[in-house]
Structure formats: C-alpha cells, structure tokens
C-alpha cells in the first residue's frame, strides 16, 4: 500500500523527520505514537502533500507510484485521505456541496461517472449513520459552528463517503469526550476491510482501546525508535514515553 523509506523533511531549514521507514500493507492498521514535537503530525501532513514541508531525502511509494511527485489533490484522488487534527471552516459552502465536488473529482479521476444529486444523497444518507450524524449536517457550512466533536465526526464521515485506500488520522482523538471517541472509533472500525489501510497518529493510547491496531510505532525526535504490536501501546500507557527516551530525546532502547 504505502512504503516509506528513509524520509527526511524540513520546515524552514529545521529538520523534523530524520529518516522514517514504514511499510503498510493492505488491510493493516498502524498506530504512530510519540511525545509532543516528535514529528507525528508532520509525517501525516507530508504524506498528504502539504507544501510547507520540504522533503530533503528518502522516498514514498503509494501503490507502486512515487507519492512525492504528486500534487496534493492527486494524492487524494489516488485514495489517500487525511483526517485533519484541526478541520478547517469554509463559510457559505455546504457540507453536501463540498463533498459532492470532492467525490466527483475523485470519481472522474478513476474514470467513473459523476454522481448526480439523487445518487449522491442516497449514498451520503447511509454513510451519515456510520458516525451517527443527522442529515442537517449536510446543509450546514463546512465545519462552521461545529463543536470539536462534530468536526472530528465530520472528518470520519467524509472518509466514509470518499472511500480512500489509505486513511491517515491525525490526532483524531484530541479534544473528544468518551462518547464522541467511541462514535468516531466505531465509524473507523466499520470502514476497516482487507483492502483499506490506516495510519493512526495519536498521543494517547485511549483511542487504541477502540481501534485496535496491528502495529504500533513510537516516534521520537523524527525517528521511529520502537515498533511492536498493540501491547506496545499498553506499555506506553503504563510507563509513559520517558521510559523509552533518555534526557535528550534520543532513543534509550
């Protein structure tokens, strides 16, 4: 699905990712954990094609294609979806219009026919149920006046409609109360299938109680310092990150 090799990136001359290697196969769920400032969100944004980040070395293959050569919209059309840590407000643009434009851009890219209003409506109504959202959400302007929880649910709802091959969740759990967290996790779980992969970036183990990962990686100071199964997350929950790090943030184990 995605193969990241020795990825280095900088923002304004400061190196943030210092050689990431990660291989995600179809159907796998990988969790990326790590302390604040370790580069987790940077990794998510670099993969999505955000321009502020300069890739200085390394390669990323996505379904056999060079991901780093594609502009952001093409990555999205090829099936890479980022659930934003801070979803953006677009005043005056309804969720429905926005999503329909996105869906049809993706369908067109795949050589499929555009959905008309009726097909679209039928489909989104069903997907809304995944995240227990009311139809009223469709008519509201994108993320405008949404609570923190609603914004995150809206991200998962969009993912459900756009049906990506790879979903990257950037701290989707932050700012969620336990009920919202369960709804979001439940939505993601329903989207899991043998073809679809996920990279879940999170600071806390909490989300992983509900979305059980196949692999857990610990990111610190721009490198993956430890990888393991879901038990690694539990270990971190109990012992914190300090145990894995020495004083200067370098790997201790």
């Amino acid at each position: 699905m995605i193969s990241i090799k020795n990825l280095h990136t900088s923002v304004e001359e400061t190196e943030i990712l210092k050689g990431i290697d990660l291989e995600v196969k179809p159907g796998e769920v990988h969790a990326i954990m790590g302390p604040n400032g370790s580069g987790k969100s940077t990794l998510a944004n670099v993969l999505a094609g955000r321009e502020e980040y300069e890739v200085t070395a390394g390669s990323v293959e996505f379904n056999g294609r060079n991901l780093l050569e594609m502009p952001a919209e093409e990555r999205a059309r090829e099936g890479l979806f980022l659930a934003f840590q801070y979803p953006v407000e677009i005043p005056g643009v309804s969720n429905a219009n926005f999503l329909k434009a996105a869906l049809n851009a993706i369908r067109q890219h795949r050589g499929e026919e555009a959905f008309d209003a009726m097909d679209f409506l039928t489909m989104v109504k069903e997907r809304l149920q995944l995240v227990e959202m009311d139809q009223k959400f469709l008519q509201r302007a994108v993320n405008v006046g949404f609570s923190g929880g609603e914004k995150k649910r809206n991200e998962i709802f969009q993912m459900a409609v756009l049906e990506p091959q790879l979903g990257i969740l950037d701290e989707t759990d932050s700012g969620l109360d336990i009920d919202a967290l369960k709804i979001v996790a439940n939505g993601v779980n329903k989207l899991r299938n043998p073809q679809r992969s996920f990279i879940i970036v999170t600071h806390y183990q909490r989300l992983l109680d509900y979305i059980v990962p196949d692999f857990v990686h610990v990111l610190a100071d721009g490198r993956i310092i430890k990888s393991g199964g879901k038990e690694l997350a539990l270990y971190l929950e109990k012992n914190g990150y300090d145990d894995l790090l020495n004083g200067n943030g370098k790997a201790a184990v």
């Binding site: 934003f84 953006v88 329909k100 851009a105």
Partner: protein, 495 residues
Amino acid sequence: MPKPPAKNDYDDKFGSAEEQQTVENLTKSEYKWGFTTDIETDMAPKGLNENIVRFISAKKEEPEWLLQWRLKAFRHWQKMVEPKWPNVKYPPIDFQNAYYYAAPKPQKQLESLDEVDPKLRETFDKLGISIMEQKRLSNVAVDAVMDSVSVATTFQGELKKHGIIFGAFSEAVKNHPELVRKYLGSVVPYTDNFYAALNSAVFSDGSFCYIPKGVRCPMELSTYFRINAANTGQFERTLIVADEGANVSYLEGCTAPMRDENQLHAAVVEIYVHKEAQVKYSTVQNWYPGDENGVGGVYNFVTKRAITHENAKVSWTQVETGSAITWKYPSVILKGDNSIGEFYSVALTNNYQQADTGTKMMHLGKNTRSTIISKGISAGKSQNSYRGLVRVGKNAENARNFSQCDSLLIGDQCGAHTFPYLEIKNPTAQVEHEATTSKIGDDQIFYLLQRGISEEDAINMIVNGYCKEVFRELPMEFAVEAQKLLAVSLEGSVG
C-alpha cells in the same frame, strides 16, 4: 452573457450541475464577450458641445422641453469639475475625444420583432439573449440596448395587458411624455454630480418602466446593455416608476467588446417607488475589465438612486466583476415612514481593476430600515474600496440600519479599503456596522485539495461561499450566471 439553462436545484441543495459547468467554463478563461459586430453605425461627430446635444435630441425627435432640459444639464455640467475623491487612479479623460452618439443605422421603421437586423440579432444570440418570443419560456422580458439605442423589446403584448409600460426610453418620450416629464430627474436631478449631469445632457437611450397601481409585474424585466462601436461612450438612462402597491423585479446585464482604449460608460438609473410598492433591482455588471496588464477596459461611472414612500421597499443587488474602473453607489432615499432600503453587493476586482463602490442610505422617514451587505473580493494587483454612507435625519425616529462589509484578499499584491460614513441626527436611531477583512487561507485551500478538489475549484468554492448571502438575493438564473462569472473573473488569480 450566455444564459445558462434554467435549473431548479440551485443554492445549497445538491444542485451542482452548475459547478460542473463552472469547471468547464474555467478552461475558457478569456473575456468571452469580446466580439464586435460589423453593422453600419449612425454616429454623431466627435466631441461635445451644445450642437452635439441638439444633434442627439434631434435624432431622437424629442420634444422641446426635453431638449431644454438637456441643455440646462449641459450648461451645468460645464461648470462642474470631475470628482477626485474616489479611491481610483486614471489618466485625465478627454471628453472632447469621444463620440456621444452611435446608433445602429435603422433600415426602416420596424413593424415586428422579426424585422430586427439579422446581424444585430446574431450579436444578441451570441450574448445569449434571444430577442424572440422564445423568451416567453423563461418569463423574462428583455429590452436590449446596444451602444446607445434600445433595439427591441420582447413581450410588449403581454405587458400591455397589465398596463405595464416597458421599453426604450426614447419610445416612452414619444408615447408617454407626461410620465417621463413628471419623473425624469425627480430622483437624480441633473445637478446631482458630474457624471449625472453629463448623462442628462447626452443620454441617447435606455429603458423606461412604469408599473401601474396595484400591479404585480408577471415576469422579470430585463435590460441588456452592450457597447459595440469604438470610442463611444454609453450614456443610458433608466427610469423605473412603481405606482402605489406595485411590485417589480428588474434585471440589468452589461458587456462590452475588448478594446485597447478605455470606453466611458456613465449611466443614470432612477427608481421612483410610491407608497406600498416594491422594486427589486439586480445587476450583473461585466463590462470589459481591461487585459491582465491593465490596458483598455470600461470606465464605469454610474449614478443609481431610488426614492421610497410610505411602506415601500427597494432592494439593490449587484454583482460587479467588470470594468477597469467602477464608481458606483446605488442609494436609497427613505422618505416615507416605514420604508425599507436594501443593498447587497459583490464586487470582484482582479489584475489592475479598481472599484470604489458602496451605497448611501438616507433615512428621512420614521421607522425606516436599511440593510447593507457588501462583499469585496480583491485579487491580482487590484484595488477594491467599499464606500458607504448611512445618514439618519433629525425626524427619522427609530430608524435602523445594519451594515456588514467584508473584504476578501487573494494574493498579497491587492488592496481592500473600507470607508464607512455615519451621520446620525436622531438619538433614537440604531445603527450597526460590522466589517471584516480576511485572506483566503492556505489552510482552507489545502483542506479542499486534500479532498481531491483542484486549486481553481477550491478558490471558486471558497469565494462563492463567501458571497452566498448576496447570491441568494439574486433571481435564480442570475445567481447561476454570477457564480460562473466570478469563476471566469478569478482565472489566473492564484499560482
């Protein structure tokens, strides 16, 4: 402008067939309306003096009182100086180096619509206006004004049944002189300002509309303006009178061919609204804006004003994307108690365009209310100013105004300016003013890109969302057209 097919699913439902159309249209980026029509033109000699004024009046076979009115206006204009207060820059205009009258040469008196010059008809077809009665389908009566002369008016028969007069100004002068004489200059006197005085002296045609007492006009009325001949000014004059309890929605569209020289356009629109009457006036202005280096384009210096009597209402909605320079303040004199004035505006400038536009709400009557929603969008190297006056007179008990002026910047080489003026002479007035300035954020664009939407579509979507409060005031057909126009006008504004 080409009329889009009528759609019922516009607005924030899922009616985005328009969006796809927008995308298609995006690929054709240049000013699409820049063709000229090769037809014989009957022109006045170059320059401006009393003889030209007499020439125009004679051409139109006008009565003596109108000639005298023009001459008074001309003499007054000679004593006036061009206003310099707008926040726009342009080289001095040589008023002697222009033609003040250009009419497509009439072959003969026309008996029916079928006799309109086929070449002219072709032009209007290109513009998407069919002068033929096919228009009945879309229920819009059109008066088409090319250069300075009103060419044909559809639906005369249907309108006549309701006692509605709608057609060329010059026809109205002939057929309804008492109405024209009574209302001409009653809202915008020829002394009003430099360009209104100039217009009063040399206007060659325009539209006239009268809705009798208690009549609700059964269709949208539409005027279509086009400047065709080179070096001509277009000085049309529109006069709309809504008698007591009448109701009308009026649309105005404008285009001009591409030319290197600047063309002058100085129109006057007067709306007289009797008590209990309502007038909705919508404009989509798309005069040639000049090329991407600021060469050419229309200078658009327009005076638009309405006066409302008791319980009457006027609503101005404008979408301004064209012209090299726009200088325009559709205003309402709220004379009668409980009358209402509204102004909804989208003004978009790109490349080297300059716009200084806004409104004036003059509250004279008690319990008068006004609403101002202005959305400015600046891109390229353009300058976009909102200038608005809210004046509450000393007798205007309980007058209320709400103003919202938003500016959106695209790129970092353009400018947005806001000049709000408030003059409140009655302590019971409630006046609210809100203003915001924002930039299209990289975050917003990236969010849409990450969902697979192209950058151009992303910007169109953000801009259209920003303008929504104004677009929803437009008649549906116009709203779709306005969306497309914004998309075309924004071409190349990012990158």
